[in-house]
């Protein structure tokens, strides 16, 4: 199994990478490549040029700033799992990172790459929605900020335009008194999830999100309201699942119900 031929470009900094991505419609950014190289090998994706973004300083590492942590898009899952970067989430992001695929994949796969691919089963999408993250997107023409819940618009589909690149992910630091719950269901350790639910209960409000739907991760407004008010989470979950994953079969809907209830239980424990 070999990908079709492409050119591998090692850009000289962010400006050079953006200019290469902007100038060529058939150029794609590559970070860890843990999904993209599979898709290229299976010839489900094609590119004339792959632009390596893993050595661009602006995309590497994480820093604390103004009540938030800014993660460079090329931060690997393993760096987050191991606590080698600051954690704004009181342990939530470390737990999530440690359950993505397998260690060999986590050593190379990146948070920005996972978001940009927008696999429906991706781990970070619902987590970053529940945490209220924003993504800093750059192109040769400038930069813009997109809220996590507005970023994906379908399976493998996002608001990224050709030539745009995720530079960083800003995650607000959870205040004292914030609690979170997270549940992921997969057939075996490291397999693609069949449902992911995340609930973050701040002193000033609750956000809940569901991933591994037929499309993209979304907020669960009824579940958030039920957790905040001590209402019937199961009834709220059924209502939200019908909206979040309308094509779910009975099995998938029960997976969603189970992860939502487990995440809500962990928040309320």
């Amino acid at each position: 199994m070999r990908p079709a031929p492409f050119a591998f470009a090692r850009p000289d900094g962010l400006a050079d990478a953006l200019s290469r991505l902007g100038a060529d419609d058939d150029a794609m950014p590559i970070a860890g490549g843990q999904s993209l190289l599979v898709l290229l090998g299976l010839r489900l994706a094609g590119a004339e040029t792959l632009v390596d973004v893993t050595r661009i300083p602006e995309l590497c590492g994480a820093r604390e700033a103004d009540g938030a942590v800014v993660f460079g898009a090329a931060t690997t899952h393993a760096m987050i799992e191991d606590g080698k970067v600051p954690d704004p989430s009181r342990g939530l992001m470390r737990r999530v990172a440690g359950r993505i695929a397998y260690r060999a994949v986590r050593n190379r796969g990146t948070i920005g790459g996972s978001l940009a691919l927008s696999d429906p089963a991706a781990d970070w999408c619902p987590v970053l929605i529940a945490l209220g993250a924003t993504y800093d997107i750059v192109s040769a023409g400038g930069a813009r900020q997109v809220a996590a819940e507005d970023f994906a618009d379908g399976a493998y589909s996002t608001v990224l335009e050709p030539g745009e690149l995720i530079r960083s992910i800003t995650v607000p630091v959870l205040q004292e008194g914030t609690r979170w719950g997270h549940a992921k269901h997969a057939r075996k350790t490291g397999a693609f999830a069949e449902s992911i639910a995340v609930v973050v209960k701040r002193p000033d409000g609750v956000r809940a999100a569901l991933g591994a739907t037929g499309s993209h991760a979304v907020l669960l407004p009824s579940v958030a309201e039920a957790v905040a008010s001590g209402g019937d989470v199961a009834a709220a979950a059924r209502a939200d699942i019908a909206m979040a994953d309308p094509d779910a079969d009975a099995y998938r809907a029960r997976c969603h119900l189970a992860t939502i209830l487990n995440a809500a239980r962990e928040v309320c424990a």
Binding site: F8, G91, V105, G190
Partner: protein, 177 residues
């Protein structure tokens, strides 16, 4: 074609490679290091696992061109490694292989598990090994061999054998505040 300079099992290498060449193909076909086995070729089986800068990576889904300036270590480069020596001893003793196809990568992953978890409990080893597929053994002897090697290399850590898993579960279940 693209220029590539990296370290392979401790020796500096400079060469030109086709841009799409995987690291697995480079070490096997370019350097004759056939301890790196190519099974599924799409990152599912783990048989091609090598170390890049000391960390396990699936060489079938790493491009050779990505390894510019990196240190790549294959099973052949770990012959004199003391952890691998203990793993070889325990894999032999516990009959942790039959056909041997998964074994070099299984041992490279096992070495990483011991590095990160010390004398890991069987449950931790099973979780960490989920990405390494063996079609012969049913995994039980592999888990036993890694547990024995971890214990032999961490003699004073009987408590540690259970603690990492228990601690991780307790931390995960605790509230976030």
């Amino acid at each position: 074609m693209i220029d590539l300079s990296f370290t392979l099992n401790g020796a500096p290498v400079s060469q030109r490679v086709e841009d799409r060449t995987s690291l697995a193909d480079l070490v096997r076909e370019g350097h004759g290091l056939t301890g790196t086995h190519v099974g599924c070729e799409h990152g599912a089986c783990g048989a091609c696992t090598v170390l890049v800068d000391g960390e396990p990576a699936r060489s079938c889904i790493v491009l050779a061109a990505m390894c510019e300036g990196r240190a790549v270590t294959t099973a052949e480069g770990l012959v004199d490694d003391p952890v691998m020596a203990e793993l070889r001893r325990q894999f032999h003793d516990k009959h942790a292989l039959q056909c041997g196809f998964c074994t070099p990568a299984m041992m490279i992953s096992a070495r990483d598990i011991i590095a990160r978890h010390g004398a890991a409990a069987p449950a931790t080893i099973r979780k960490e090994l989920a990405g390494q597929i063996c079609r012969c053994t049913g995994y039980a002897p592999i888990v036993a061999a890694i547990a024995a090697a971890g214990a032999a290399l961490n003699p004073s850590s009987d408590a540690a054998a259970a603690a990492p898993h228990v601690a991780a579960t307790a931390a995960g279940a605790s509230d976030a505040s």
